[in-house]
């Protein structure tokens, strides 16, 4: 078991012929992900890493029945790509693209919900179920199948923690990057609920950062609804207020969204918080042994 993607994933790649799209499609196919189709308007008849390309999502759906779509489309066109995916019945859409205007995401998020679909991202590394499906831009080889569910707002920091877990012999059910933007489709709470319901996930790692209150919401949800051990890490203890730290959503504004508040909320919910990424595996082992 795992969450959201596995051996039964039939993946569609939107923006498949672009530089990012074609590179990562090759990487995903090499990992063993079942990539069934790609879409690039005007790209019909082409192939990328053996994957057939269509002009529209409707055509790709009719010919190949994908159940997940991943979007590698520039920011100006990404909202339209998300609409095209959900309007054609794709239930799970992952948007890698960074730099989408917030106002566009307000409307996109509402529309995705109305359609009953799920969005992951934007501005995220994607999702991987080790040994089954890699749907994103993460390096597959650092992952290993196992009992840990991992959810994070970051990209390379997630790889850092995954690498530490794998080297410590702690494999992952699924690692999910929810993205660094102010408005994202899947929150910590959503991911925690999925891991809580997944019988193979025995413990959960959540990696947060400054900005917003998603970590505080997660802490509340953990104390009320999560029975599995959870370990946290929060990046940005040294971040100054009022400055955007790379991610559009990583900003301490009006004194709210600090690492200290998030760490306090998690600890109050009984979640041990690592002071450095390399400390996560030991905390997870200790939490699982309790």
């Amino acid at each position: 078991m795992s969450i959201l993607v596995d051996r039964n994933t039939r993946l569609l790649v939107q923006g498949i012929t672009g530089r990012e799209g074609s590179f990562h499609t090759t990487q995903m196919v090499e990992y063993g992900t079942n990539v069934v189709a790609g879409v690039t308007p005007g790209g019909k008849g082409k192939e990328v890493a053996g994957v057939p390309v269509f002009d529209t999502v409707a055509e790709a759906v009719a010919a190949t029945q994908p159940n997940v779509s991943i979007i590698y489309v520039p920011a100006r066109f990404a909202p339209d790509a998300i609409y095209e995916a959900v309007d054609n019945g794709i239930p799970f859409v992952i948007c890698i693209t960074e730099g989408i205007p917030v106002a566009d995401m307000v409307a996109v998020y509402a529309h995705v919900r109305e359609k009953g679909a799920r969005l992951l991202g934007p501005n995220c590394p994607g999702i991987i179920t080790p040994g089954q499906a890699k749907v994103g831009i993460m390096p597959g080889f650092i992952h290993m199948p196992g009992p840990i569910g991992l959810v994070s707002r970051s990209g390379t920091l997630t790889y850092e923690v995954v690498d530490a877990l794998t080297k410590a012999g702690l494999g992952q059910t699924t690692a999910i990057g929810i993205g660094g933007d102010p408005i994202i489709g899947t929150s910590f709470v959503d991911a925690l609920a999925l891991f809580e319901a997944d019988p193979e996930t025995k413990a959960i790692v959540m990696i947060g950062e400054i900005g917003g209150t998603d970590e505080e919401d997660a802490a509340r949800f953990i104390s009320e609804r999560v029975t599995k051990p959870v370990v946290g890490f929060i990046a940005g203890r040294t971040a100054p207020p009022g400055k955007r730290m790379g991610h559009a959503g990583a900003i301490i504004s009006g004194g709210a969204g600090t690492a200290a508040e998030k760490i306090a909320a998690l600890e109050a919910a009984g979640v041990p918080v690592a002071d450095r990424p390399s400390a996560v595996p030991a905390l997870i082992r200790a939490a699982m042994a309790r």
């Binding site: 106002a103 990209g155 790889y159 040294t238 004194g255 690492a259």
Partner: protein, 375 residues
């Protein structure tokens, strides 16, 4: 992106919001001239991208043109929280009966645009939100249909306004929401929005910030950028596609990925050092980007050592190492450098770096400890 009060007032005016008349002065003489033209009591207001101007003495009331000149003399050149005042707004005095707060912001947890209003205007709204949250009235805009006029009226009624004042207030709410949406703002705020004793509404202080990701569709807003308000290195970084934030420490950081860059700063601090900057070179960490990053970091004279933290991932470690050595050929770096390199072919990469005379390690903790020792 932030703009000045007088620029925000201009935009609000275009949307039909009644803003207080005012003009910008860059010299005391101009201030006197503008005040004489108004012929009334004026407020002389420092134009800087930070709050707390009043408390810092950056806003003064002047009863005569001469007093306006003196106030401008005192305020121009003043340093308010690290922002030097180059301009003052000379605004006509208003006959204030009541002060309100009105703002439009994004409610992140609800993923909707929200109206915030309070009958306690003119004060720090964050303080009101913390200490007297019941004094703040809110309305959430429909993500697809926008804000309805009935919601604006409801806010007005909830503030306890008299019936004859409802429509005037509600119309300002609608216009401010309109400005927020059409200009891709992240904040549109009037504080205070005043009611004069003759029953008129006037936006006495205007504030607006914009979504950097949406500037591509607002060339006019981009032109309002005040380069004097921005850190020169941060500005240069943005042109190079690098995220950079200047900090107060002495350990320069070059990292791929925003989350890892924050964690790297935290690791430096954990090992007893102080980070000099936040820097995300982007995913690939090419020779070109690393060279730019070296230039940005070494531009800060307080930097005494540099930590490069690259989690290679899909990018091969030996390629990253070559990029770093190539970049070092282009930029003369005089301080010690510690490189942490992990991922595919990281060992070969570290070998290359060691041959080039750099300290190359496998773990982030070791790297942070080593760079703090080297500084």
């Amino acid at each position: 992106m932030d703009i000045h009060e007088y620029q925000a007032a201009e935009i609000f005016g275009r949307y039909g919001i009644p803003v207080n008349p005012g003009e910008v002065a860059e010299t005391p003489a101009q201030a006197e001239e503008i005040a004489a033209k108004f012929g009334t009591l004026v407020a002389v207001k420092s134009q800087v991208h930070t709050g707390g101007r009043g408390k810092a003495g950056g806003i003064r009331i002047a009863k005569t043109p001469e007093a306006a000149r003196e106030a401008a003399e005192a305020i121009l050149g003043m340093d308010i929280k690290g922002h030097v005042v180059n301009k003052v707004l000379i605004a006509r005095g208003a006959d204030i009966a009541r002060e309100f707060y009105l703002g439009v912001v994004l409610d992140r947890p609800r993923r909707q645009i929200t109206i915030m209003a309070s009958a306690e205007g003119g004060v720090d709204i964050e303080e009101v939100a913390r200490e007297r949250p019941e004094k703040i009235v809110r309305a959430l805009a429909d993500p697809e249909l926008g804000l309805h006029p009935w919601q604006a009226r409801q806010v007005a009624f909830q503030l306890g306004l008299a019936p004859e004042l409802i429509n005037g207030f509600a119309s300002i709410v609608m216009k401010l929401y309109d400005a927020y949406v059409k200009e891709d703002a992240t904040l549109a705020e009037i504080n205070p929005l005043v009611l004069t004793s003759s029953g008129e509404w006037i936006a006495l202080d205007s504030k607006m910030s914009f979504d950097d990701n949406a500037l591509f569709r607002h060339p006019g807003i981009e032109q309002l950028r005040d380069l004097a308000e921005e850190n020169a290195t941060e500005l240069e970084a943005r042109h190079s596609g690098i995220s950079f934030v200047k900090l107060d420490g002495d350990i320069g950081c070059i990292v791929n990925g925003a989350g890892l860059a924050m964690a790297t700063m935290d690791a430096v601090k954990l090992h007893g050092g102080e980070p000099a900057n936040f820097l995300d070179v982007g995913g690939g960490a090419s020779a070109e980007q690393v060279a730019k990053a070296f230039r940005l970091v070494t531009a800060d004279p307080s930097v005494r050592a540099i930590l490069i933290n690259i989690f290679g991932g899909i990018t091969r470690g030996d390629v990253v190492a070559e990029g770093i050595t190539t970049a070092l050929g282009q930029v003369d770096v005089k301080v010690p450098i510690v490189v942490r390199l992990s991922g595919t072919n990281a060992e070969e990469g570290r070998q290359l770096l060691a041959e080039a005379g750099l300290t190359a390690v496998d773990s982030m903790d070791d790297a942070a400890a080593a760079v703090v020792r080297a500084a």
